[in-house]
C-alpha cells in the first residue's frame, strides 16, 4: 500500500501506519492557585456579553503586529493592520493594571511553580536549572500585552500509557489568556470583546513527543495525562480547566495543530478527519499540478524539493492574480435581501477569478459518518472570514443563496471568463475595504491549493458547546519558535538542587494508591469512589484515625464518610448563611462525635453546627488545642440537651407514638400504613427535637401494623 492511499470519505478506514501518521499532544491545565504574574485571585466570573456588569471598566485597544525580520512589511502583518481589528477588554474584579498591560508583571506565583515542578517530577522529567520567562507573541488579542508569558520548567520526561511510553518534550508554566465574550463585525473592522478574569491564571503546558501511535492512542494519552494532573490535587477542575491541542500530520501532508478538543471521546474522530483532509488536499495539489504540467509533489514531505516548490509558487502566483473586479451591476435587481441591504448601506460586491478551480471548490457533502468532506471552498471561506466578513459565495455553489443563473452569467461576463468554464470565481459582499481584503486572502489561500497543506493552527468547529462534526477551520499559520523572546521584566530564577530533590521525594500518591488505602477501611466501593472524586480521601482518613484535630476522637468510618459526602455541609451553610466551602470539616467532626457518643440526635447536627458558626462559638482560628476540641464537644452536647436534641429513650418515644395513634385511631383505621407519612411529623413534633427520625419511623411502622 502506498503512502497516499485511502478513501477520504471513509476516514475510519485510513491506515495510520501506511500514511505515515505522526501525532503529539499539547495539554494545557489550569492550576488552582492565584494568577501567575500578578497577585490577583485565580477565579472565574461567569458572565456573558449580556450579563457583564456595567460598572466593570472597559478599555479599547489595538495590537500592532511585529514587522518581519527582513525589515520589510510582510503580508501577514499588512493583513493584520488592514483588517483593523480592535479589542475591548472588560476588567473583571480579579484583574488590575498588570492584566491591563498598564504595569509590568510580578515574579512567578510560588505555589504555581511548585505544582509545575511536582508535575515534572511525576513525569520523570529533567528540571531546567535556571528558569527564564519568555514572551510568546500572540496577536489575536487574547493577551492584552500581545504576548503570552511562558517559562520552560522541565524537559525530557516520559508518560506511561497502556499502549506504550510517550515522551514528554517540554513542561512549561504559562499564563492563560483572556476569555472571548463576543466578536462584533462592524463596517470599520472586527471588535472582539474579552473578559480579563482568566487572563494570567497559571497553566501547565505539557507537550509530548510525536510518539502517539494511533488516533485511539491519542485519546488514551490525553486520559493518562489528565489523570496524572488530577493526582496532584492542585489543578483546577471543571469545564475548560484542561485543554488538549493535537499535533497531527501524515507523510504527504504537514504538521497541523488542532485546538478545541475538549471532549476526549472526539479525539480519534477529529484526528482521522484531519488525516482525510491532508490526503484530500495532497491529491488536489497534484491534480492541479498535472493540469498545468507542473512537477508533482512527492508522497513524503521529507522529499520536497525547495527549488521546485519556489518555481511552482512563482507560476501559481502569476496564475492567480489579485485583480479585484467590482461586479455590483450584475446584482442591480438581486432578490437576496442580504446582498441588497449590504449594498444599500454602501457596501460593494467584488469578485476575483479562480482559474482551474471551477469544480474543485466543492459543495457541502457528508462523508460516510456524516462529517463535512474536505473541500477547497470551505478553506477559501475560512480565509475570507479572517478579514471580518461573514463569508463568500463561490462559483461551485451558485446559483443559490438568492443569486440567480442570470446573475452568475453576468458575473462571468464582467470577469471576462464566459468562455473559460475551468475558471471559477469568488464573490464577496461587504464594505469595500473589507471585501477587498477578504478576496485578497481568498487568492492567497487559493494559490496554496497547488501546494502541500501549510503548517497551521486549526480550530474544531463547535456548535452548542460540542464539536459540530469533528471538522476544523483554519485560524492562523503555525507560529515558529522565532516568535519567542525573553520577558525582560521578570528576573531569571535559579532553581536549587535541594528544592528539586524535596519535590521529587514528596510526589503525591496516584489515584490507585489512594484507592488502595481506602479499601483497607471497610468502606463501600461507592463511597470510596465519591471520596476520590471529591478529593476528600485524606480528610476521611484523618477523621477515622483521630488525626483530624488535637483532642478529636477517632470517628466512625461510615458515619464520617457519610457526613462529609452528603448534604450536611450545604444544609448548615444555608442556615448560617454562608458559603458551603467555609464549613470547617472539624465542626462536622465535632457534631458527629457528639452524636456518636449518644448525646445528640441526627436532627441536632445541622441546627447546632450552624448555631456554632453564626453565634461565634466556633473559634476563628479553628481547633488548635485538645482542650478547645473537648470544650466544644461538651458545649455541643449541652446545647443538644437544652434545645431538646438529646435522644429520648425509646420507651419514652414508644409512649408518644402510642398516644398519637390513640388520638387518631379513625385516621389510622382509614389510611392503614398510608397514615405513617402524615403521622411522622406529628410524632416528631410531640417528641421535640429529641427524637431520631429513623427510630420514630420504625416504632410507627411497628405500632400501625399491630393495629391493622
Amino acid at each position: 500500500m502506498s503512502a497516499v492511499e485511502g478513501d477520504v470519505a471513509d476516514a475510519s478506514s485510513l491506515n495510520p501506519q501506511t500514511l505515515g501518521f505522526m501525532c503529539g499532544l499539547e495539554i494545557h491545565q489550569q492550576l488552582a492557585t492565584g494568577k501567575l504574574h500578578s497577585r490577583q485571585p485565580g477565579e472565574l466570573h461567569d458572565v456573558t456579553i449580556d450579563t457583564v456588569p456595567d460598572e466593570w471598566p472597559r478599555v479599547h485597544r489595538r495590537l500592532r503586529i511585529a514587522k518581519g525580520e527582513s525589515g520589510k512589511v510582510d503580508v501577514a502583518a499588512k493583513f493584520e493592520a488592514k483588517r483593523n481589528r480592535s479589542f475591548i477588554y472588560i476588567q473583571s474584579p480579579n484583574s488590575g493594571l498588570i492584566e491591563l498591560d498598564d504595569q509590568p508583571p510580578d515574579p512567578h506565583d510560588s505555589e504555581a511553580l511548585d505544582i509545575a515542578l511536582t508535575i515534572s517530577g511525576m513525569l520523570d522529567a529533567h528540571p531546567v536549572p535556571l528558569l527564564q520567562t519568555m514572551r510568546k507573541t500572540v496577536v489575536d488579542g487574547s493577551n492584552t500585552s500581545g504576548f503570552q508569558r511562558t517559562t520552560l520548567v522541565a524537559t525530557n520526561g516520559v508518560l506511561n500509557t497502556p499502549t506504550g511510553a510517550v515522551g514528554v518534550d517540554v513542561i512549561c508554566l504559562e499564563e492563560d489568556s483572556a476569555r472571548k465574550l463576543e466578536a462584533q463585525s462592524t463596517a470599520n473592522g472586527e471588535i472582539v470583546i474579552w473578559n480579563l478574569d482568566r487572563l494570567g491564571i497559571p497553566l501547565v503546558e505539557i507537550a509530548t513527543a510525536p510518539d502517539v501511535q494511533t488516533p485511539d492512542h491519542a485519546k488514551e494519552t490525553a486520559l493518562a495525562l489528565g489523570t496524572l494532573l488530577r493526582d496532584t490535587r492542585r489543578v483546577r477542575r471543571g469545564l475548560g480547566s484542561i485543554r488538549q491541542d493535537l499535533n497531527v500530520s501524515i507523510a504527504c501532508g504537514d504538521r497541523v495543530e488542532i485546538k478545541g478538543c475538549q471532549d476526549l471521546s472526539w479525539i480519534p474522530r477529529i484526528i482521522r478527519l484531519e488525516m482525510a483532509r491532508q490526503l484530500h488536499f495532497f491529491r488536489l495539489a497534484n491534480e492541479l499540478r498535472e493540469e498545468i504540467k507542473l512537477p508533482l509533489l512527492p508522497d513524503n514531505r521529507d522529499n520536497t524539493d525547495d527549488i521546485i516548490e519556489e518555481e511552482v509558487r512563482q507560476t501559481v502566483r502569476k496564475l492567480l492574480d489579485k485583480e479585484i473586479t467590482d461586479v455590483g451591476k450584475a446584482f442591480d435587481n438581486c432578490d437576496s435581501k442580504m446582498i441588497t441591504s449590504t449594498i444599500a448601506k454602501g457596501g460593494v460586491m467584488y469578485a476575483v477569478r479562480l482559474p482551474h478551480l471551477a469544480g474543485r471548490l466543492g459543495t457541502k457533502m457528508p462523508d460516510n459518518e456524516g462529517a463535512q468532506l474536505p473541500r477547497l471552498g470551505r478553506e477559501l471561506a475560512g480565509a475570507a472570514k479572517l478579514a471580518g466578513v461573514a463569508g463568500i459565495f463561490h462559483s461551485d455553489e451558485l446559483p443559490a443563496y438568492g443569486i440567480t443563473e442570470e446573475e452568475v452569467t453576468n458575473v462571468r461576463e464582467l470577469l471576462a471568463i464566459s468562455d473559460t468554464p475551468s475558471c471559477g470565481f469568488a464573490l464577496c459582499c461587504a464594505p469595500d475595504w473589507q471585501a477587498e481584503l477578504a478576496l485578497e486572502s481568498v487568492i492567497e489561500r487559493g494559490r496554496l491549493a497547488w501546494h502541500r497543506i501549510r503548517q497551521e493552527v486549526r480550530n474544531v468547529v463547535v456548535k452548542k458547546g460540542a464539536p459540530e462534526d469533528g471538522t476544523t477551520t483554519a485560524m492562523r499559520p503555525l507560529p515558529g519558535g522565532a516568535r519567542m523572546y525573553p520577558e525582560t521584566d521578570i528576573a531569571n530564577l535559579p532553581l536549587a538542587e535541594e528544592e528539586w530533590h524535596r519535590i521529587r521525594s514528596n510526589l503525591p500518591p496516584t489515584r490507585k494508591e489512594r484507592q488502595k488505602a481506602l479499601l483497607e477501611t471497610a468502606l463501600g466501593e461507592d463511597q470510596i469512589m465519591q471520596l476520590l472524586d471529591k478529593e476528600i480521601d485524606e480528610l476521611f482518613l484523618a477523621g477515622i484515625s483521630g488525626e483530624l484535630a488535637p483532642g478529636m476522637p477517632a470517628l466512625p468510618v461510615k458515619g464520617w464518610a457519610t457526613i462529609i459526602l452528603d448534604s450536611t455541609s450545604r444544609d448548615i451553610a444555608e442556615l448560617v448563611p454562608c458559603d458551603t466551602t467555609s464549613i470547617p470539616p472539624e465542626l462536622l467532626a465535632i457534631a458527629l462525635a457528639v452524636r456518636d457518643a449518644g448525646d445528640m440526635t441526627r436532627e441536632g447536627i445541622v441546627p447546632l453546627a450552624s448555631e456554632f458558626l453564626s453565634t461565634g462559638v466556633w473559634p476563628f482560628a479553628g481547633l488548635t488545642t485538645a482542650e478547645a476540641t473537648k470544650e466544644l464537644i461538651s458545649e455541643m452536647a449541652n446545647r443538644a440537651e437544652s434545645q431538646g436534641f438529646k435522644p429520648a429513650d425509646s420507651s419514652d418515644l414508644l409512649a408518644i407514638v402510642i398516644s398519637v395513634l390513640d388520638d387518631r385511631a379513625d385516621f389510622v383505621a382509614e389510611r392503614g400504613m398510608g397514615a405513617m407519612g402524615p403521622l411522622m411529623g406529628v410524632v416528631m413534633g410531640a417528641a421535640g427535637g429529641a427524637a431520631d427520625g429513623k427510630v420514630i419511623s420504625a416504632l410507627l411502622r411497628q405500632e400501625i401494623q399491630k393495629r391493622m
Binding site: R64, V73, P129, N156, G481
Partner: protein, 454 residues
C-alpha cells in the same frame, strides 16, 4: 570538556541534570547568567544549564534560514512622497524604537529611518520622515547639556526645511525636557519656527500592545499638521502621549505644563493646572486631530509668534530641590548654600509651606530652619517655592506663615506653574541673566496661566 563555540553556532549538547542525562540541540546565545550555557531551542525557548554540567558538545551545521512563511514581501513603502511635509525625528533613546532580534531574542534599538517606517508604515503617509539620532540614553540620565543638544538639533532641522520636529525620549524626564525646550525656544517671547512634539512610550515597542506606534503617529501628525505656534496656552512644545488607557486617543499636552504622574500606565502624562490642547484620534492608522475649544479660541484671537533662535542653558548653574514636610532640617539648607548653588527650589506642603514655626516650643529645628533660610537668602541664594501637591497654585497669602515666608524673601508667590516647570524656568532665567523674581511672576509662554480651570 570542549571549549564553547561562539554565539550563533548550532550545537548538540549532552548535559548532566539532577535527574540524569539529557541532550539538547539549539543555537548558542549570550549566557543568561555567568557560568551558564544558554541555547535557543527549535521551539523558541531559551534554556540555560551550568557550563560544568556539559558532558559533551558537538557543533552542527546551521539549519536552513527562517521558515518561508510570512516572507512574501511586497516591498518597502515608498518614503519619497514629495508633496508631504518634512518632519525630522530626533531620537534621544528609550524604547520607542526597538525591535526583537529573533536570533538571540534580545531587544535591540533600531533607529534607521527605513526601519522606523517599516515598523510604522503609517508614518510615510503623513510626512516625509527624516530621522537623526543624537544619543541613546535613558531619560533619567539626561542633563541640561542634553537640552542644549536638542535645541541645536531642532534649530538645524528647521533650518534644513522641516516644518516640525518630533523628539523621542524615554518617559522618566520626558515632560521636563519638553518644558526645557519650550523655554529655550520661546522664553523670550518668540517661538520655534515649527512645531516640536516630544513623545515616548510607556510599554516597550517590541510588544504588540505598545503605545509607541500610536504616540509616534500622533506626534508626526502634529509636527506636520498642527497649527502655527501661538504661545498662548503653552503650545511652543507639546508632549504627545496616550490620553487614557485606550488606544486611538492621543493627547496633545502643553510641553511647559505636563508631568508624568504614574510610573507605568499609558496615560501617565497629565497637564498640571492646564488642559490638553488637542486630541489626536487614530482610526485605521489615519490620524486626525480635534483642538480644544479654549485652544481654538486663542488661535483665532491671537496672532502667531515670531520665530526666533533658541537660547541655551548655562550648565554651570547648580539648582537644588528640597521637599518641605516633617523631615526638612536646616543643615541641608546650609549645605546647599555652602556648595555653590545658585538657587534652591522648595517643594512646600499645601499652598507652599515649610516647617518654620514652633508654637509649642518643642521644635527648635523649626526656628533654626527659619533662621537658616533667611540667612542663605541674605547671602544671595535664590530660594523659590513650588508646590509639593503638584496640582494647584502656590499661594503664600492665605496663612500668616506664607506671608512670613514671603517676607523672608522666598520667591514664587502666586505661581500656577507645575513644580518641574518652576525649576526649569529658574534655570533658564538665571542662564539668560534675567530678573528671576519677575520671571517667576510672569507668564512667558503659557506656563503660568492666570487661572486654573480644573
Amino acid at each position: 570538556m570542549a571549549a564553547i563555540p561562539e554565539q550563533g553556532t548550532r550545537v548538540q549538547v549532552n548535559l548532566r541534570t539532577w535527574s540524569g542525562e539529557i541532550e539538547h540541540i539549539g543555537v548558542i546565545i549570550p549566557p543568561a547568567s555567568p557560568g551558564y550555557l544558554s541555547l535557543k531551542l527549535v521551539n523558541g525557548y531559551n534554556v540555560s544549564h551550568p557550563v560544568n554540567a556539559i558532558l559533551s558538545l558537538t557543533t552542527l551545521q546551521p539549519t536552513d534560514s527562517s521558515p518561508s512563511e510570512n516572507t512574501d514581501s511586497e516591498g518597502i513603502l515608498n518614503a519619497e512622497q514629495n508633496n508631504l511635509p518634512l518632519v525630522r525625528i530626533i531620537h534621544t533613546g528609550g524604547t520607542i524604537a526597538s525591535k526583537v532580534d529573533y536570533a538571540t531574542g534580545a531587544v535591540v534599538a533600531s533607529f534607521e529611518p527605513e526601519e522606523l517606517i517599516s515598523a510604522i508604515p503609517e508614518l510615510a503617509e503623513i510626512a516625509r520622515i527624516e530621522a537623526v539620532k543624537i544619543g541613546n540614553m535613558w531619560s533619567d540620565d539626561m542633563r541640561p547639556q542634553h537640552w542644549n543638544s536638542l535645541l541645536s538639533a531642532s534649530a538645524q532641522a528647521f533650518a534644513e526645511g522641516a516644518v516640525g520636529v518630533v523628539v523621542t525620549s524615554g518617559t522618566d524626564t520626558l515632560a521636563i525636557t519638553a518644558a526645557a525646550l519650550a523655554f529655550g525656544w520661546a522664553g523670550e517671547g518668540g517661538s520655534p519656527p515649527g512645531r516640536i512634539a516630544v513623545t515616548g512610550s510607556q510599554r516597550s515597542s517590541d510588544r504588540g500592545s505598545s503605545d509607541a506606534g500610536e504616540n509616534l503617529i500622533a506626534a508626526v501628525h502634529w509636527a506636520a499638521n498642527g497649527p502655527a505656534i501661538n504661545g498662548g496656552l503653552g503650545d511652543s512644545t507639546v508632549v504627545v502621549m496616550h490620553a487614557n488607557s485606550n488606544d486611538g486617543e492621543i493627547a496633545i499636552l502643553p510641553g511647559c505644563s505636563t508631568r508624568k504622574l504614574h510610573s507605568t500606565r499609558r496615560d501617565a502624562f497629565k497637564p498640571i493646572n492646564a488642559e490638553p490642547l488637542a486630541i489626536v484620534n487614530i482610526n485605521r492608522g489615519k490620524p486626525s486631530h480635534t483642538l480644544s475649544p479654549a485652544y481654538e479660541e486663542v488661535l483665532a484671537s491671537t496672532a502667531p509668534r515670531q520665530s526666533t533662535s533658541p537660547t541655551m542653558y548655562d550648565c554651570k548653574i547648580k539648582i537644588a530641590q528640597l521637599n518641605g514636610g516633617p523631615h526638612l532640617l536646616p543643615d541641608i539648607v546650609s549645605a546647599v548654600a555652602n556648595n555653590g548653588y545658585s538657587a534652591l527650589v522648595f517643594h512646600g506642603t499645601g499652598l507652599g509651606h515649610l516647617p518654620i514655626e514652633n508654637p509649642n516650643g518643642d521644635a527648635p529645628e523649626n526656628d533654626k530652619l527659619a533662621e537658616t533660610i533667611s540667612q542663605v537668602i541674605a547671602e544671595g541664594l535664590h530660594v523659590i517655592m513650588a508646590n509639593l501637591c503638584i496640582n494647584g497654585p502656590v499661594n503664600m497669602n492665605v496663612y500668616s506663615k506664607g506671608r512670613n515666608q514671603q517676607n523672608m524673601g522666598i520667591l514664587g508667590q502666586g505661581s500656577n506653574s507645575s513644580p518641574d516647570t518652576i525649576v526649569v524656568k529658574t534655570h533658564w532665567s538665571l542662564s539668560q541673566g534675567r530678573n528671576l523674581a519677575e520671571d517667576l511672576q510672569s507668564n512667558l509662554l503659557g506656563e503660568n496661566p492666570t487661572h486654573i480651570r480644573s
